[in-house]
Amino acid sequence: MNGVPGALEAKAPEFLDFLLSQSSAERQQLYRNGLDGLNAQARRRFTRPFAEVEASQAGMLLAPLRERWTYDAPSDPVAAMLRAAKDDVRRASLNSREWNLAAAAGRARGGGAGLYWLPID
């Protein structure tokens, strides 16, 4: 994306696998139910799992991400998972080493950095 690392380059999927493995059962269930639902929809409409559909077909399945933002998460499990994943994927990308390097080279803006508090003895 114009020199800005995308989620795959930022290794967001690998990091989120790790994060979710450490997360609460509730959070894991949100992703599990949502991904199961997304794959079920993809199979029903396009006879294959989500990871194998065409880009235009994926666009149709990701329609909930084109809904106006509301404070409360959607009740639909797929829409709820997509909303969480949008935030998580973006944050994991912006906070990645790859994004940090792109920002240092003037190709990207933002990226997480700050003063870290060491543990208090």
Partner: protein, 523 residues
């Protein structure tokens, strides 16, 4: 230490305890200050890091500090560990108790918003019939605000707003951007006043007890600070009925010790002070101790808008940026149908809306985020919460902290008055944004759980009668005359203003009175 007799023992080194030490030591009174936390060297304790260098890439360890919404993976170690000092609540009534245990307390990290209360707060019952008045009025506290503001170097603009009295300010003479002029004019047409944010500038990187109060107190030679002292209970002389000291544990060794003094001042932060009194079994002949917990509800990022003329970096110099503060404007001269009291608005322009507000993903999302960078409007709503008798804390003896001290059970929730007020705030903000021609991306009226604002108040309130209050108008226990509680627990109402200036002024006033009583031999 047990052999040394001090005049005054102060529990807590934050804003209230620090101000007590500052005031008393300057009058030659020997003070001993205990704090549960250590002194912290900020230069050694913090290091620059990129998020990708942290174990959880800046997301934070899942489940750690689940009540502290302010916590990030960067600052997680500055807050009290909830597993070390837990508290309990009904799962259906969440409460966010946010705490700091270091010399300087929460004054090390506060947002520095520095406002006075007015008689709309001190005499709130006279105005609308709800609840109780404070036993003091604005004129009682004004001389103390006058002294506190120069110490904290409060910057602000004097605007003559009755509900937000002017103070002794470093005058803010900055101008307004074109966007802000438009927003302020739209508000003025609707009877909503605006002023510049009022902020404690402090000195260096702090506006804290740590650098503005304690150094002066130490310089008198009359202050001894004992860090890492976790106070278990206040002890009382059975023959006189007076407080005579405290039992405390050293934080790391857990060794139990005693310290004594003629007068005990409690400034451990609102709920820790009340927890200490409840665990000590004192100062509660009224039965009111622990009741009337309140704070201010907060709705951050309440309304998000984009200012069209500033999209794609097109804003000319001076067009956008800066912000302001709109103090309470509801229920002053008129009366709202479905809520009492009011709310304040802390607003700004020139920010960048979060990606979550754009109904897009992938490259289209990045394009929209880039386009709106620096073109945003955002506002935090801060609403008054009514003090209620059934909003309370009590001791939960079934659970103890790391030092074996029973914890608090918190029982509170927001009700229709707060929810209706929040709806009014969002409708008002959206109306203002539309009037300015701005694109509203999203708005919501859901507030954070009680406690989030870190403005917990009440539970040890002052009043005119020992039957309905814990403290008299001098922050002095009705039951034990040499016991003073000088922090936010003494509040009767909280208004919509940040409370720190009022805590500081009350502590200074109580300390003046205390010193005079000691001089006369009445304490």
């Amino acid at each position: 230490m047990a052999e040394t007799k001090y005049d005054v023992l102060i529990i807590g080194s934050g804003a209230s305890g620090g101000m007590a030490a500052y005031t008393l030591t300057k009058k030659g009174i020997k003070c001993l200050m205990l704090d549960a936390g250590p002194p912290v060297d900020f230069d050694r304790q913090r290091v620059n890091r990129s998020a990708h260098e942290l174990p959880f890439r800046g997301f934070g360890k899942p489940g750690k500090l689940s009540h502290v919404f302010q916590a990030t993976e960067f600052n997680a170690n500055q807050w009290v560990d909830e597993t070390q000092v837990p508290y309990t609540h009904d799962p259906k009534e969440p409460y966010n108790w946010v705490r700091v245990r270091m010399i300087g307390g929460k004054s090390l990290f506060w947002a520095r918003m520095s406002f006075r209360f007015s008689d709309y707060e001190f005499k709130a019952k006279d105005h609308d019939g709800y609840g109780d008045n404070w036993p003091i009025s604005y004129s009682d506290l004004a001389p103390y605000y006058d002294q506190v503001e120069p110490i904290f170097r409060v910057r602000g603009r004097r605007d003559g707003i009755q509900q937000l009295p002017d103070g002794v300010f470093i005058e803010d003479t900055s101008g307004e951007s074109e966007c802000n002029k438009r927003f302020i004019a739209a508000a003025r047409e609707r009877g909503i006043p605006n002023t510049k944010m009022r902020t404690s500038m402090g000195r260096g990187q702090f506006a804290s007890s740590f650098n503005l109060l304690l150094p002066d107190a130490l310089a008198t030679g009359n202050l001894t600070i004992v860090p890492n002292a976790v106070v278990r209970e206040i002890t009382v002389d059975k023959s006189t009925g007076l407080a005579n000291g405290v039992n405390f544990l050293e934080r790391q060794s857990h060794r139990e010790m005693h310290a004594n003094a003629r007068v005990v001042v409690v400034g451990a932060s609102c709920l820790e002070s009340t927890r200490l009194l409840l665990n000590s079994g004192i100062a509660n002949s009224s039965g009111v101790l622990g009741h009337y917990l309140h704070d201010q509800f907060y709705i951050t990022q309440s309304v998000q808008a984009v200012i069209p003329e500033a999209r794609d970096g097109k804003a000319p110099s001076g067009f956008i940026g800066g912000g302001g503060y709109m103090p309470r404007f509801r229920n002053l001269k008129t009366k709202e149908k479905n809520f009492l009291r009011g709310y304040a608005l802390d607003w700004s322009t020139g920010g960048s809306p979060d990606a979550k507000y754009f109904p897009l993903y992938g490259e289209a999302l990045q394009k929209a985020v880039d386009s709106a960078r620096g073109a945003g409007f955002s506002c935090t709503v801060m609403g008054e919460v009514l003090p209620r008798a059934d909003s309370q804390v009590r001791i939960n003896k079934a659970v103890t902290d790391a030092w074996g001290i029973p914890v608090l059970h918190v029982q509170t929730r927001y009700t229709a008055n707060e929810f209706n007020m929040a709806k009014d705030a969002i409708a008002t903000l959206e109306e203002l944004c539309h009037a300015c021609g701005w694109d509203v991306l999203g708005g919501h009226d859901q507030m954070f759980p009680p406690g989030y604002s870190i403005h917990e108040l009440g539970t040890c309130r002052m009043g005119d009668s020992p039957k309905s209050s814990v403290l008299n108008k001098w922050n002095q226990s009705w039951d034990i005359k040499n016991l003073f509680v000088v922090d936010g627990s003494s509040f009767v109402t909280g208004g919509s203003q940040n409370p720190t200036m009022t805590i500081l002024a009350l502590s200074m006033r109580a300390s003046d009175y205390m010193a005079e009583q000691m001089r006369k031999g009445d304490l």
